[in-house]
Amino acid sequence: MKLRLSYPTGKVPNPVLSQVVLDTKVMLNILEAKVTPTTGEVTVDAPVRGAQLERVISLFEKQGVHVDRILASVRIDPDKCISCGACVSPCPVQAIRQNTNWDVELDEAKCIKCLLCVDTCPVRAIAST
């Protein structure tokens, strides 16, 4: 499950993420991080489910970090898509590929919802869901 962690003002100096990793022993993988001196937004992959996942989320929340579960990602409208491929190689996690017919396919499990593809699509066929 991918999680988007929003650090409120003042929480950035605290090693919240490291603390959660040490407490839960869940190997969180940082996929994307935008950190400023005052706020931060980090996208992580937590390779766990059920109670373990809930524990990770609750530990973050206890520290005042807001957690969003990234459930759906983006949708490619097949009626608008021209199968060009402009969105494919810019995807930083290789969640988009072209099949042998050059049709564009999205692997939702890999998507981190960075939305780079939404802007990149020349015919606006990709929308955030």
Partner: protein, 405 residues
């Protein structure tokens, strides 16, 4: 004896057209021709196949349409006009205008441009016209506002000064920042490669020596019938950057093969579908039509260097580019196309069907295109100042997306 360019030593245009009319011409797509050559050899294939069809569907900024609106009552000689808020060129007669693909909406900026106006017209959508004039004794009206559709126009002619580059450079980015270019989104530190052109289906690469394509060549253009009307701008065939200028009636075209597009932080453009039938007139044309993605190479340029002399990072064939990865400095770098191979194939197949079933005849060009053309740079007299450049008020600013170059 030197081989004559365009020599009809295997078959003539007349022989091909007679076969098309009889219904026994052998017409294959460039992909099929390549397979045929692999199986039977070049000579046997060249003897058997009359015509090879090609196709490409990519962003072609040098595209646009001449429109004639007809005269209003009282009449107007518009000095400026806007179509759905996109400025069209009005330095022409009273109600003639040219809408260019890269002109951007003064209200929507990057999201809507001339390419989108052309697509909307072809879709049959209503387009809003606003015009201004200073008024003359013969054209007293000074302002006009109305709507029209493609059907209402007297003429709507797509005339694209530069289309269908033989091949094109691929792009990557060696800087530490993501950049947004006319070659799409390029990730930092050589994070990806984008490329354009249809490779082994590319119309102008399949007649590499310009032995058959010339003024008057009948082609597939935007889903309708078009013609080559000359060399395209920046035509540079000796480096395989040959281009063509084309024209066709917008009213015969299809929105499937004319699509308005936006390159993020770059601007608007038009995806144009072009397909050209290549008559296999001689062995040298056959050889060119048989070139494969392995044979067609391009340079991968660093678009992180904002100069006309962008350095080449490496060389790659279209086969390598199409494989999804190319090595840059020993590292596997993801590649993806910007032009649509799916549509390019569809265009080559459609054109094949037209020649076979709809008696699309091949035209002997009135004049062949130059085989050499110098591609000259523009020298400047003074350096650009840091503060005083390109801040014209006519450039639309998009509040959400910031200003482009």
């Amino acid at each position: 004896m030197a081989k004559q360019v365009g020599a009809e030593s295997l078959r003539t245009y007349e022989e091909i057209n007679a076969k098309i009319k009889r219904g026994d011409a052998i017409v294959v797509t460039a992909d099929e021709f390549i397979s045929h050559v692999a199986e039977y050899g070049l000579e046997a294939s060249a003897k058997e196949v009359d015509v090879v069809t090609t196709g490409t569907f990519g962003a072609m900024c040098s595209s646009g349409a001449f429109l004639n609106f007809g005269h209003s009552e009282p009449p107007i000689k518009m000095s400026h006009c806007w179509l759905n808020d996109v400025p069209a060129y009005k330095g022409l007669a009273a109600v003639d205008a040219y809408i260019g693909a890269t002109a951007m909406s003064e209200s929507q900026g990057f999201e809507y441009g001339g390419g989108h106006v052309i697509e909307d017209l072809v879709r049959g959508k209503e387009v809003h016209l606003r015009g201004e004039a200073y008024g003359t004794d013969c054209y007293p009206r000074r302002a006009i506002e109305t709507t029209f559709t493609l059907k209402d126009l007297n003429q709507a002619t797509l005339i694209n000064p530069r289309n269908a580059y033989q091949h094109y450079n691929a792009a990557t980015n060696g800087t530490d920042k993501i950049i947004h270019t006319y070659m799409g989104t390029l990730l930092p530190q050589f994070g990806n490669i984008t490329y354009s052109g249809a490779g082994q289906l590319s119309p102008l690469y399949k007649d590499k020596g310009f032995q058959t394509i010339g003024i008057g060549t009948r082609i597939f253009l935007g889903g309708g019938l078009g013609y080559v009307i000359g060399e395209g701008t920046q035509h540079s065939p000796q480096t395989q950057f040959g281009t063509i200028m084309v024209r066709g009636d917008l009213r015969e075209m299809s929105p499937r093969y004319l699509r308005g597009a936006t390159y993020y932080k770059y601007g608007t453009t038009l995806y144009v579908g072009v397909g050209i039938p290549i008559p296999i007139l001689n062995m040298s044309v056959a050889e060119s039509a048989a070139l494969t993605d392995d044979d067609i190479h391009t340079k991968v340029l660093d678009y992180g260097v904002p100069s006309r002399g962008r350095p080449a990072v490496c060389d790659a064939s279209y086969a390598e580019l199409k494989s999804g990865n190319v090595l840059i400095k020993g590292r596997k770098t993801p590649t993806s196309p910007l032009s649509s191979f799916k549509y390019a194939k569809e265009i080559a197949e459609t054109l094949k069907r037209w020649v076979l079933k709809e008696k699309f005849l091949l035209s002997r060009p009135a004049e062949l295109l130059p085989e050499r053309r110098e591609f000259k740079p523009l020298e400047t007299d003074r350096h650009e100042t840091k503060s005083g450049h390109a801040s014209s008020t006519s450039v639309p600013r998009n509040p959400e997306r910031g200003e482009s170059r």
